[in-house]
Structure formats: C-alpha cells, structure tokens
Symmetry: C2
Subunit: 220 residues, 2 copies
C-alpha cells in the first residue's frame, strides 16, 4: 500500500472489529515493521506481548470500564452526552490485543543520545507503535490504542517486570470498514485544526507567508 | 512510495545531508502527513517550528557539541573510540531544522483517554513525528532526530512558551544516499536484536512456537 494512502486511511478502531483471526504471517509482518522503527542510540527498547487469552482480556476490559466511569464524572452534562455515544475500546471484539513495553535498561546505562532526553526511550517505543499501526492498515487490520487503563494493574496481570514500563495497550483485528474520518471528529467531540495555524518559522508564533500558502493549497 | 519500502528505507540521517532547499510544497506534504497522525482524544497537541535561520542553528549546534562532550566523559575507552567515529547531528548541513512541540493544555483540561496515561499527550506528538519521518523518506528527504540538547535551552532560543514542551529537534534535507543499515549498526555501536526474542504471548516471557517460527521466516 502507498505510504500516503496508509497515513490517510489509518484509524483508531474501537467500533468496527470483526472476530476473524489474524494469520501468524500477517502478524509477523506487522511486528517486523514495528521492529524497523528508529530508536534512540539503536537501543530497540520494545517488547510485544500478544494477548489472546479470553480471561486476561476480560480482566483488562473490566479495568477500562472502571476508568471510563471515573472519566465520565469529570465531564459537564453536554460533554457527557457526546462521550456516552463513544465506544472507547474493542478489547473483546478484536482478534487479539498487544501490550507494548519499554525496557530502558537495555544496552544501558549510557544509551547514546539519552543524556539530556531520557524520555526518548519511551518515545522510541511509540515510534515502533506508529510503524505497527501503519503496517496494520496496509494489511487491512485495524488498531485501537486503549488508554483508559491503570498501567500498573495491566503490568501485574501480564506479569511484566518492575523495570519494564507499559507504553501502550493495543487492540487489533480485521474490520468491517475504515471510516472516512476519525470517530471523535464524526461524533463532534473535537474538530480538525487547520495545519497552517500550527506551523511557525524560526520562533514560536511567527508565520511565513509562502509556507502558509503552500500548507493551505497542498493535499496529500 | 510503498509503505514497507518507506519503513525499511527510512534512516536517522546525520552524515549524508545535501544543502539543496526543500520546496515549500514538499515540506507541506510532509507536515500534512504528520498532522494526520492519531492523537489521544483527537487533541492534536503538536506545533512545528521550521528553523532556517543560520544564527539560531549555530546556537543550537553549540549546545549539541557541549552535550556531546558531557556524554563522552561517561564512556569507557572502548566505547569512546567507537563514539568518536559517530556524527551525532547535521544541524547546519541539513536544509532546515524542525522543532516539534506538545501543548498538553489544548482541548483540555479533560482530554478523552488521558485520565490514567497523561503521557499520551507527548506520545501523540511522537506519532506525528513518525508520520513526518516516513513521508520525508517517500519524498527522498532525510530526517535526523537530535537529542543531545537541553530542551529548556532550545525552548528559550525559539521563544517557546512555558506551558509547551519540546518533544524533538529534527534536521531535514535531501541526502547523498540512504544507507542500507542504520549507522549505529554499521559502526558497531549496537546490534539488531532478533525480533522473535522480543515477542511474548499472554504474559511476559512466554513464547508461542507458531508465532516464533512465523517471525523467523517472515521478511518485509
């Protein structure tokens, strides 16, 4: 699949999962794409725990429901009404889940490039997730990132060691469709910001007229 | 460009920049790709400061040199010898630099999905950087992430407000070549880990034999 098509067509999937299994060779291609991501000092701090077990997924879903209720209580009535129409996870409906972790001790302690920005360890794992997400789209597999979870609780359920950090809990599966626009945009939760408002030149807040025009006229 | 080709051919460029300018419409496509990244609660917390000014870049390069020396002092003699062959940045040789930031107050305070994982704000910006990096590769533009920098110092130089966080300082430009392998692998800094060692099933440390075989037999 063309890169720009994958970027435009990628979605955060919660509502459209089908139960069809993902063949191991498809999953392997997606994981290899993740493993080809850049990492600070070539430290490759990621691990991937493929979660298929139903009982484990049920425990994690229960936790997501609990966090959903906690979040709902913070919202105004207007926002609550929109939020209640939004599905936040497809933990059980998807074909499998993947927990993605960061081991920042790997190739340590002095990983090249991390002296002033230790968080580039975790960021490297996020870059791997980005590759995974796009490769999945090219394989017609949907991915949803579930963040309504207490990380320490998920770590205990999956027996992840203390020194390893949970970066993301993903749900993956074939889908009935990849909607045209993000669900949160469709449902009126937020709007897409104009990119030309977000790009500056040489210092914060300063616009360049030629670049602004190019940003407004360009489509990908 | 095919997605898997972009993923395989993407490099963290420090040594191969050419000074040729990047046309605004090419830069616009690359930034649009970044803006199409997923973000927690569709919060789009990113800004992009395109840095072309020579004097600003010189100040930032000076800081990278200083951090390089600090890091070098931590290394054993063996590692120092390898490190001294490695170029860590192409701040002046590249065509332009881009500072990428996170404004975690945007659409706040209660961004959907951030209640238990506030760091998904910063992670969203990293996902945008991943898209940018791959789109640049498809446009034959190299990208290098320079992390030998004190973020607060860079923020002051670029007049970035207090509540906005610097996530990455990137260098971008056309290149003489995209090397076959990462430079840190070529120069013997680290080795590529076997992916099948990094993938578990249902809990940390447990392997699945079928998936292990698929991972070892699959190429992308």
């Amino acid at each position: 699949m063309d890169l720009y098509e994958a970027i435009k067509g990628r979605r955060d999937v919660r509502s459209y999962f089908k139960p069809d299994p993902i063949p191991d060779e498809v999953l392997a291609r997606i994981l290899h794409a993740a493993h080809l991501a850049p990492s600070v000092g070539f430290s490759q701090p990621w691990n991937f725990i493929v979660v298929k077990d139903r009982a484990i997924r049920e425990r994690i879903k229960e936790e997501a429901e609990r966090q959903r209720r906690r979040y709902e209580e913070l919202l105004t009535e207007d926002r609550k009404a929109i939020f209640n129409k939004i599905k936040i996870e497809g933990i059980l409906e998807s074909s499998l889940n993947i927990a993605v972790t960061a081991d920042c001790t790997r190739f340590g302690p002095h990983v090249l490039g991390r002296i002033t920005m230790p968080e580039t360890c975790q960021y490297s794992v996020v870059l791997a997730i980005a590759n995974l997400w796009l490769a999945a789209r090219a394989e017609n597999v949907g991915v949803g990132w579930v963040s309504f979870l207490d990380k320490e609780l998920v770590k205990r359920i999956l027996e992840i060691p203390d020194h390893v950090e949970l970066i993301a809990y993903l749900t993956m599966g074939y889908v009935t469709s990849f909607p045209e626009r993000p669900e949160l945009e469709e449902k009126g939760w937020n709007t897409r910001l104009p990119l030309s408002d977000l790009v500056y030149q040489d210092r914060w807040g300063r616009k360049n007229e030629d670049l602004r025009r190019a940003l407004e006229e360009t489509k990908v």
